[in-house]
Symmetry: C2
Subunit: 254 residues, 2 copies
């Protein structure tokens, strides 16, 4: 694929919220055609980023918010002594970058998990557009609210759940994420490493690995590297919601 292809692709995509298949979960959902056109003019599509590249990082000047268009990202923050915590995984239709409003600089870092592209929305232009399109404003609040809910759920997980619940909850969330996007809800193809999962869940990588094996031995999952098949949705939900009945899990034996 030549550079030329890339550029052309680029231009044709640029004004295409209408043809975007994540438009139905994203900021523009429910927007009327006319408003969509208006909004489209302020959206910039950047060249896709490769796995491991950063959309922006902690401390960067804040000028835009972004919608994930394709691929997936992790959000991380760093502590004063250099340790990192992943605070979220985000997928097509999700909004990232709202952390920048407070001090005009970003507090978290957004890094791609695979090749990913983004719709960039300049804050200045957005504020003007929001004034003209009330629904856009409302949708924006909805997406922020969704980010806040994700964070609330992660805090609950990190503060109160044991390791089994954490992993089960994570898999349930991944599953319903896929379902919302129209994919199969029982076949998960993880874009993140065990290391990322462990960090996100506040666990050691070994614990995640062991739990996956245990789940597999108890016919809850089928684990093949990054491909995970949910064999028993009911049991998995049982673990995630800590329902004692379905907790008939055996150690290490099949």
């Amino acid at each position: 694929m030549s550079n030329l292809d890339e550029v052309v692709d680029f231009k044709s995509i640029n004004n295409s919220c209408k043809s975007c298949h994540s438009a139905k979960f994203c900021l523009v959902q429910n927007l009327k055609d006319k408003d969509l056109m208006d909004f489209n003019s302020i959206v910039k599509r950047r060249k896709p980023l490769q796995r491991g590249e950063r959309l922006f990082q902690s401390g960067d000047v804040f000028h835009s918010v972004y919608i994930v268009h394709s691929g997936s990202v992790k959000i991380t923050i760093e502590s004063s002594d250099g340790e990192q915590q992943i605070t979220g995984f985000y997928f097509p239709g999700d909004l990232v970058g709202v952390d920048g409003f407070e001090n005009s600089s970003h507090v978290y870092t957004v890094e791609t998990l695979d090749t990913s592209s983004f719709c960039e929305i300049s804050v200045k232009q957005f504020e003007a557009a929001a004034k003209k399109i009330p629904l856009l404003q409302q949708q924006f609040f909805k997406l922020i609210s969704r980010e806040i809910r994700h964070e609330q759920e992660l805090m609950l997980l990190l503060g109160r759940m044991d390791s089994r619940r954490r992993l089960a909850s994570f898999l349930v969330a991944m599953s319903s994420q896929l379902q919302a996007q129209g994919y199969s809800s029982h076949s998960i193809n993880l874009s993140m490493t065990r290391h990322d999962i462990a960090n996100y869940l506040g666990l050691a990588i070994e614990t995640v690995s062991r739990l996956l094996t245990t789940f597999q031995n108890n016919d809850v999952l089928d684990v093949m590297r990054r491909n995970i098949t949910i064999k028993d949705q009911r049991k998995l939900h049982g673990i995630a919601e800590n329902r004692p009945e379905e907790e008939c899990m055996l150690e290490k034996s099949a």
Copy 2:
């Protein structure tokens, strides 16, 4: 104090962002007098809530956001099996209730830690006002951004820090919270119980108690029930930031 007093107090306060001493940290900071008057007309001040009362709770219909005017609150969420996690403490000038935009219902519960009052802002009216007053919109985003930053920091704490760092970080945050409000930064009068602190930090109440004693024995703090005096800011920061040098802490001995 009679009922009459209460009502009068009430009315006179109602249009008084100008005279409110938390106005400089809250939504209205930097607003021009004219805009302030406009905004004032859409703000409702409710009768103060007593300690333990709820401003709203998970599942309630979402119609307003609130600024804490006086007192303090905790935000909690509940897991499917009924366990609660405190995800934040909020103080005068802070915004709560932004969790409701996603599904028009609240995901978290806001409960007062002491007698507290709130400025209620109807979402519908706010959206209209924001259109007319661009700065108001910007301030609103700033406060949301602040909430997100708080959450990011708590996730980092819950995911990566050991118990000593958690407690030290909490005290540092409380201290700078007080300082920002113009109070002494080394004399903390906690409005929350040990139980709340422990829950917030993802620890057992006994662990918090033991750590407070240890800190006291090492001349970092002076603990007298809910009154905590920071005797050694440098050391406390050292623990919070995990700097090995200042970690010369002895067990159980003075």
